[in-house]
């Protein structure tokens, strides 16, 4: 298996990341296109030609200098360090072309300005970065990764951003093409929709298209309505920090045919899929999953990103809020492990209480209890009906109180025999308080 942090992936990740940021800065509808052309035969001497283009704001070129380190640690045979950049800003009169050679030691030779094309008063902006990568034995894996990466970008349904991926593999025998245009599904995701609503929509498509590539989830549900969603968000309200942080969490639960359920965490920063940061991963592991009816059997981070200074608190807050939302919308399905254990006693409890009511030789008492249950005293009530009514009510009590806070709130109503005696003494003629003892 190729390393998750192979130079090809890192490079593409960076190029796409900046393209997305340029699009976001433009604040108007933009297009991001990644196209890859290469030979179909593995280890063919022809290179993979990659182009990453966007219609966002023009590039100031500074971001590409950040690739210096990557270029230095990448062998020349994998990537020669050359980037061909074409860019223009909205107010520019021309389209500028540059060649960067990041492998070049001499700084004067690293940067070359190429021929400029004038726009003739046309108003547009955009950037295209072209480069050649070596076609290695693991080129197919790289392409698979790129397709997956694009799928994830599409999950976000970022406002004002349309994404396209074209992969063309040309061979002597056959050609393979992958075309991944922006989804146009039945759900409206207008510009006005919130980012989390769009994420919900994208995540549903992702789940329905078997995008969850986890081994155990081979039979994702095909029914959109059966997907259960929980959303949560948290904002950094600390005004001293220059950069505000906004965390949104969407949890999507799809029932699988097998009970073996598996979670895949898609993690995004600045609208680009990223390896999960260590701090966020720690938050995921440390959440009290049992309170939401989940059992965390184990967690593996595919890649760990150390650089991110995430605010643990925010991630935790957003995640908990999403879980609470999920639970509130689907009370019975996400009962805590404690709640599930307690719920198992309900049928027996209901049978005992129904038995105590119906086996009593006090008709008045029976009628009173049946009325309390809302079953109406006049009709002939069967034991099964009383039992199921109690069962239903008890399950509701458990579901409604399935959080620590609620359970504590419910504490004041307690049964004590003293209270009963106070009541029962009213209808007793003489106080026979001590006769239940030794007689």
């Amino acid at each position: 298996m190729p390393s998750a942090s192979s130079p090809h992936r890192k490079l593409l990740h960076s190029l796409v990341y900046w393209a997305v940021q340029r699009c976001r800065m433009s604040e108007s509808p933009c297009r991001l296109t990644v196209s890859l052309k290469g030979p179909a035969e593995p280890a063919s001497p022809s290179p993979l030609r990659v182009s990453v283009s966007d219609t966002g704001v023009g590039s100031k070129l500074e971001e590409f200098l950040e690739l210096d380190d990557l270029a230095r640690e990448t062998p020349v045979e994998k990537w020669d360090g050359t980037l061909l950049i074409t860019t223009t800003g909205i107010n520019d009169e021309a389209i500028y072309r540059y060649r960067f050679n990041l492998q070049e030691e001499l700084s004067s030779a690293r940067f070359t300005k190429l021929a400029t094309t004038y726009k003739n008063h046309a108003t547009f902006s955009g950037t295209e970065v072209c480069l050649c990568l070596s076609n290695e034995a693991d080129a197919d894996d790289f392409i698979l990764w790129l397709v997956g990466f694009f799928h994830k970008i599409l999950v976000l349904r970022a406002a004002n951003l349309a994404c396209e991926l074209f992969v063309e593999q040309i061979g002597s025998a056959e050609s393979r093409n992958v075309c991944l245009p922006q989804y146009s599904d039945d759900v409206h995701h207008s510009v006005m929709a919130s980012s989390s609503d769009r994420l919900v929509c994208g995540l549903k498509d992702y789940a329905l298209s078997h995008g969850n590539t986890c081994d155990n989830c081979d039979t994702c549900t095909l029914n959109r309505d059966l997907l259960k969603i929980g959303t949560g968000a948290a904002n950094n309200v600390d005004r001293r920090k220059a950069k505000g942080l906004h965390v949104e969490v969407v949890i999507l639960i799809a029932r699988t045919a097998s009970d073996l359920s598996c979670w895949t965490v898609l993690y995004f920063e600045d609208f680009v899929p990223c390896p999960i940061s260590q701090s966020s991963f720690d938050v995921l592991v440390s959440i009290d999953w049992q309170s939401y009816g989940f059992k965390l059997k184990g967690a593996t981070a595919m890649q760990e990103c150390q650089g991110s200074q995430q605010d643990r608190h925010l991630v935790r807050k957003a995640l908990k809020s999403a879980l609470s939302h999920l639970k509130a919308d689907h009370a019975g399905d996400f009962l805590s492990c404690h709640g599930q254990r307690v719920r198992e006693y309900v049928p027996d409890l209901a049978e005992s209480i129904a038995g105590l009511i119906l086996s009593s030789n006090d008709k008045e008492f029976q009628d009173e209890c049946i009325t309390l249950l809302g079953l109406g005293s006049n009709q002939d009530v069967s034991e099964g009906l009383v039992q199921s009514s109690i069962c239903e009510k008890m399950v509701r009590v458990i579901e409604l109180n399935d959080t620590k806070e609620n359970a504590e709130d419910n504490a004041p109503y307690l049964f004590e025999c003293e209270k009963l005696d106070e009541d029962s003494q009213l209808d007793e003629e003489d106080g026979d308080e001590d006769m239940n003892f030794d007689f």
Binding site: V342, L356, S359, C369, M394, C417, M435
Partner: protein, 383 residues
């Protein structure tokens, strides 16, 4: 003469009626309480709240006492030391307890309504999948007693009796005449329920409680009661509720001193303590079951030398015996109510030896009944 008999008969009949009425009243009160609980549970559930039942926790002793500085503790025969809340919301073990409690209550309600009795084992076999084991039913019965402030016999749940009695006593148990007095050396079963006992007559001077049936049989064989005006009782090991209630009833009715004879080992001591202080399991009822004035007749560690018993009868305390003795020594009631008993147990632990009552028969088979018991009682050598 006939007139007097008639009057006595009428009085007895009146007494029986009164007794019956009291029993019916008690059952009716309990049924009312059960209905009160059920009504409340239904009300809570219908209102969307969890039924939460407060159960007091009783403890007649704790092990917090330190030999050097016996600290004051909250243990009491009358007042609870804490509470448990059985509900749908907190610990699931408490929900399970609530589940069992209500199911046992269902059986109890039927027993009381039909004026029938059954044993806890009978109850267990009605719903074995819910109860899992008899001990669970036992605990639920305790919980119900605590909740409704009553004793086990009020619930019409009857125990299996294992205790025996012989000696100078006669009484009527329900319709049956138990005339031990006509055959003082014969063993009779202790009655299941003291509620059924009436017309207790005795000419005994004291009650002797022995730990083991073998000793009881030894005394019967030696015709101990023929030569000593007494009543002999055995609980055959740890005494059950009927044995303890019967002993307590006799002590109260006949105003007789009670002496207890147990092995000189930690288990014998624990049995002795159960008679005097009650058990932890039935702590809520200990005050009605215990015999606080019972005297410890023996056998003491010092008896071994005093009565020149052969060395072969002396055994060393096992590590388990030591642990048991140490845990008993820590019980607060020994500090508070029986410091002499505690010193005697401490002496046993220090010497590290134990021996059984039967060791007294090593030199002479009837030594126990001929010499040991009469001598000790006569000389007042008891604690």
């Amino acid at each position: 003469m006939a007139g007097r008999d008639k009057r006595r008969c009428a009085a007895a009949l009146g007494c029986d009626k009164q007794r019956l009425r009291r029993r019916q009243d008690a059952a009716a009160l309990l049924l009312r309480r059960i209905k009160g609980l059920v009504r409340w549970v239904v009300k809570e559930v219908a209102a969307g709240r969890s039924p939460s039942i407060v159960l007091h926790r009783y403890r007649n002793y704790c092990s917090a006492a330190d030999a050097a500085s016996p600290s004051p503790c909250a243990c009491s025969y009358d007042a609870p030391v804490g509470t448990d809340v059985l509900s749908l919301l907190h610990k699931d073990c408490h929900t399970s307890r609530l589940n069992v409690l209500l199911r046992v209550l269902l059986v109890v309600q039927q027993l009381l309504q039909q004026n029938k009795h059954c044993s806890k084992r009978d109850i267990y076999y009605m719903y074995p999948s819910i109860f899992v084991e008899v001990a669970v039913v036992d605990r639920a019965i305790n919980d119900i007693c605590i909740l409704f402030k009553c004793s086990r016999h009020n619930l019409n749940v009857v125990p299996v009796v294992k205790g025996l009695v012989m000696g100078w006593i006669r009484f009527v148990e329900g319709e049956k005449k138990v005339y031990c007095i006509t055959s003082v050396n014969a063993a009779f079963s202790i009655p299941v329920s003291i509620e059924a006992i009436k017309d207790v007559v005795s000419v005994a001077h004291y009650i002797l409680v022995v730990e083991k049936e073998t000793v009881f049989q030894r005394l019967a064989n030696d015709k101990f009661c023929e030569r000593n005006r007494c009543i002999v009782i055995t609980g055959r090991g740890y005494p059950d509720i009927p044995t303890r209630r019967f002993l307590r009833h006799l002590v109260e009715q006949l105003h007789l001193p009670a002496y207890c004879l147990v092995d000189s080992d930690p288990y014998g001591f624990d049995i002795l303590a159960t008679y005097k202080f009650g058990s932890l399991q039935l702590a809520y009822d200990a005050n009605l079951l215990r015999v606080p004035d019972i005297r410890w007749l023996g056998v003491f560690t010092s008896d071994f030398e005093d009565f020149c018993l052969p060395d072969c009868c002396l055994l060393h305390l096992s590590p388990e015996d030591r642990r048991k003795a140490e845990s008993i020594l820590a019980r607060c009631y020994l500090h508070k109510e029986a410091p002499e008993w505690r010193s005697e147990l401490e002496a046993m632990l220090q010497k590290g030896v134990k021996f059984e009552i039967e060791a007294l028969s090593a030199s002479s088979i009837s030594f126990l009944s001929d010499k040991y018991i009469p001598q000790k009682i006569k000389q007042g050598r008891h604690l």
